[in-house]
């Protein structure tokens, strides 16, 4: 046993004991809570032309406000994209203004705690701070949670998964009542675009496994596990090429848009169109549609379009 193993093992032991004390093996129960009947008639709300906060304020009203999703004393887990050590105008991470606004809405609705994390690609501390998200979360009264060590992740089974049948998922998500996904829309070198479903890559520990074993199928598989209660797609600064990290601000177009849906496939299909790609060109959207995660065909859906 080398030094690293020793630390890991002792940490795992400690975490497990801690986990057992605080929530003794009840992960399964959380699925029940996530399926709920929503009062809103809309499948998708699309809004553009405003600032991130103003657009969210307006769009969430169409769903009956955040109260429709967050009940008193519930724990909320917010998953933005904080993957890269870049500033907000580079369009590499979710807009911190939007993150802040969403947390404020959750707390107003009576949330007990709002946790925010992402398993980053660049050094996590630099990502959290340079993306502006750490400050936004603290200012809004949320809690930013690290996600860079394996000890935060718990083994789960993904029953509907074809390739990805098990994964290690961050305990904060497993422990939360409400799951809100806030991805940013941007180009992606291997999956064409990254939106809601691809954003869930940041809730697992071993991303390498996805890359080795048919990336698109794994993205679709993971989206069957714990469907977010709400997906808020940030399309304010949109990185049109060189994604997902981007090279400079020249890659970014200011689109001032936002899409909100309770279904990831719907959100991704609409966002792809907004980006200028047909959903059918993106394999993981097609696979997820075929697996019944949601509909990529937007024609039959009830869409609210707002231009500010």
């Amino acid at each position: 046993m080398n030094r690293r193993d020793f630390f890991r093992k002792s940490l795992q032991a400690g975490l497990l004991t801690g986990a057992a004390v605080t929530f003794p093996g009840v992960y399964g129960n959380y699925f029940a809570k996530s399926s709920r009947i929503l009062p809103s008639a809309y499948d998708l709300v699309a809004i553009k032309g405003g600032e991130p906060e103003a657009m969210f304020d307006e769009a969430i009203k169409m769903f009956g406000g955040m109260k429709a999703f967050v009940k008193k004393n519930q724990k909320v887990c917010l998953k933005p994209n904080i993957g890269w050590d870049v500033t907000p105008e580079r369009g590499g991470n979710t807009n911190p203004k939007l993150v802040k606004r969403v947390i404020e809405h959750c707390l107003e609705a009576g949330a007990k705690d709002v946790y925010v994390f992402d398993h980053t690609c660049d050094d996590w501390k630099r990502c959290y701070s340079n993306s502006g998200i750490e400050k936004a979360v603290k200012d809004a009264g949320g809690k930013i949670v690290p996600a860079d060590t394996e000890n935060y992740y718990q083994d789960v089974k993904i029953n509907s998964g074809k390739v990805l049948t098990q994964a290690k998922i961050h305990e904060v998500l497993l422990d939360s009542d409400v799951f809100i996904n806030i991805p940013i829309l941007k180009s992606h070198s291997s999956t064409r675009t990254t939106i809601s479903m691809k954003n869930l890559m940041g809730i697992v520990w071993d991303r390498g496994y996805w890359h080795r074993n048919d990336l698109h199928q794994c993205i679709a598989d993971c989206s069957t596990y714990r469907k977010p209660d709400l997906n808020i797609v940030d399309a304010y600064f949109v990185m049109k090429r060189n994604g997902p990290r981007g090279v400079s601000v020249n890659d970014v177009t200011t689109m001032k848009s936002q899409l909100i849906s309770t279904n990831m496939v719907v959100a991704d299909a609409a966002a792809a169109k907004l980006f200028g790609v047909e959903p059918d060109e993106i394999p993981y959207i097609k696979i997820a549609d075929a697996m019944g995660v949601g509909k990529k065909d937007l024609s039959s859906l009830n869409i609210k379009r707002i231009i500010m």
């Binding site: 690293r4 291997s190 020249n250 394999p283």
Partner: protein, 527 residues
């Protein structure tokens, strides 16, 4: 001034130096910014000398101050500023507590003059001919750096992680565990070995390392022979009782002949406090004192010489065996083609591998400061002369595009500070794509992890069969940060790796014009 006051001042000053110096190497939180660490290490003799030579920088004149201090007060550097000196004093203090019952104190030893001069001259000659290997292994500051980095740092990591476990179990995430991303067994063994040697010597013989082996000690020692203030035995007050001699951890007081060998005295002032009659004092001396007599110069200790020769031979032979295990990077379908790096990658700011190898004393401060832990100690990746020096380990991590802290903290100038814009174009190596290991080729599925991580898009994706995309590398834009290699998920061999540049080059800036896209915010949605 009374002896006990001097001694107390010495102890307080040494604590003022040792605490921040140690924390610098153990700091896992990145609390100390480079401009402060520079000040903390300003007076460290070897790094400051090397930086002065490397950078012709007048900001690195700490060693001149040390020389002047020595000329004035004797080897106070060794007792107060040198971190290894402090460590030995601590070991010595414990040994005294432990051994008090059995036998008491030290005794006067003859000076091993030839050995001392050889151990001073040879490292300097090696340095002149472009190798810092011997300085690496002998410089007290660098040794202490490695001890602190290898021993105290993990202790801090362990304590922090224990605290993190407790906090996390209460769902508090403000304290988080720190992951050590790599463990390098051979560099660790080398560090432990030198630690054992230093501790053993100081446990048994006090400051023998400082007085016989340490080149800095020898250099400052011969200067302190001419120092203004000296330890002087007052012929008239001395009773030749020998108490001071037994107290002297430097074994340099010959109480029978009433002489003090100032070249070995580390100015600890223990003797003065021990003297029952004020027969030994710290005082200015204009006249030549009898203590400077060098009567033992013709005595050569052959056993010690033999030891040095034999042990160096042993290290050489060990290294040839170990050379056979070096550089091999050890996935669904396993990747079949092993990677052999021709050259290890040296950090940005080191200008060339050769220059780096000839300037770095392997104190590992950059390793402690590196936020991504891409810098790891080498064993034989650079070859024998670069042993223990840091290299870019892209299996452990990769170089953050927006970071240049290694150059900012480097106290020897082996890694020169460069501004961020220059760093972003400094090509330390080039990404090499091994197509037959790549998942897109072997499994016909999308991957692109390398291109995702690439900060300059030197690795970009080009169309491949069946709507797939496969990586392509562009040397012009590549800076060798290793993000692609780190991210590459193939096992056991990577499908992309960084081949080090022997001499660093300048990459081309990837300047793509902004797309002229007119956005009409009043336009309807495309769905």
């Amino acid at each position: 001034m009374s002896g006990s006051l001097l001694r107390n001042i010495r102890i307080i000053v040494s604590i003022i130096f040792i605490v921040p110096t140690t924390f610098l190497f153990a700091d896992i939180f990145g609390l100390i910014p480079p401009f402060i660490s520079e000040k903390i290490l300003f007076l460290q003799f070897v790094p400051s000398t090397l930086k002065f030579i490397a950078a012709i920088s007048f900001g690195a004149t700490g060693f001149v101050i040390v020389l002047l201090l020595t000329l004035m007060f004797g080897r106070i550097y060794c007792s107060s500023i040198c971190p290894l000196g402090f460590l030995q004093d601590v070991v010595n203090w414990f040994s005294k507590k432990f051994k008090r019952k059995k036998k008491s104190g030290f005794e006067f030893l003859k000076e091993q003059k030839i050995l001392r001069i050889v151990l001073l001259i040879i490292p300097i000659l090696f340095f002149v001919f472009g190798s810092v290997t011997l300085i690496n292994f002998l410089d007290p500051y660098s040794m202490y750096g490695r001890f602190a980095g290898n021993f105290f740092r993990p202790v801090l990591v362990g304590t922090n992680n224990l605290a993190a476990i407790i906090f996390n179990s209460f769902k508090l995430y403000s304290v988080y565990p720190y992951d050590l991303k790599a463990f390098n067994i051979y560099p660790f063994i080398i560090t432990v070995t030198s630690f054992v040697v230093v501790v053993f010597l100081s446990w048994e013989m006090g400051r023998l390392y400082c007085n016989t082996i340490c080149p800095v000690g020898t250099l400052l020692g011969y200067i302190s022979k001419f120092s203004f203030f000296k330890i002087i035995i007052k012929q008239e007050d001395c009773l030749s009782c020998g108490i001071c001699s037994k107290e002297c951890k430097a074994s340099c007081i010959d109480s029978e002949n009433k002489t003090v060998d100032m070249s070995r005295c580390v100015a600890c002032f223990d003797c003065i406090t021990s003297c029952p009659t004020d027969g030994i004092v710290y005082s200015y001396s204009i006249k030549k004192q009898p203590s400077i007599q060098t009567s033992n110069q013709s005595v050569i200790d052959n056993s010690k010489r033999n030891f040095i020769v034999k042990s160096s031979l042993y290290i050489f032979s060990l290294s040839t065996i170990a050379a056979q295990v070096k550089k091999k990077i050890v996935v669904t379908k396993p990747s079949m083609i092993p990677i052999f790096r021709k050259s290890a990658v040296s950090p940005p700011g080191s200008i060339s591998v050769e220059r780096f190898n000839s300037k770095c004393t392997a104190c590992h401060l950059c390793i402690s400061a590196c936020p991504t832990q891409v810098l790891q100690p080498s064993f034989l990746e650079y070859g024998f002369t670069g042993m223990m020096q840091p290299r870019m380990d892209n299996i452990a991590s990769f170089c953050n595009f927006e970071c240049k802290i290694c150059g900012d903290v480097c106290p020897t100038g082996a890694i020169l500070p460069i501004d961020l814009e220059k760093k972003k174009l400094t090509q330390i190596g080039k990404a090499k794509f091994v197509r037959d290991n790549c998942i897109v080729q072997t499994q016909k599925t999308d991957c692109g992890a390398c291109s995702e991580h690439c900060p300059t898009k030197a690795v970009h994706m080009i169309p491949f069969e069946k709507n797939l995309f496969i990586p392509e590398t562009r040397d012009d834009y590549c800076i060798g940060c290793g993000a692609c290699e780190f991210a590459c998920p193939t096992k056991p061999h990577k499908a992309i790796y960084v081949e080090g540049n022997r001499v660093h080059q300048t990459a081309k800036k990837n300047v793509e014009e902004k797309k002229q896209e007119k956005i009409n915010y009043k336009e309807e949605f495309p769905f």
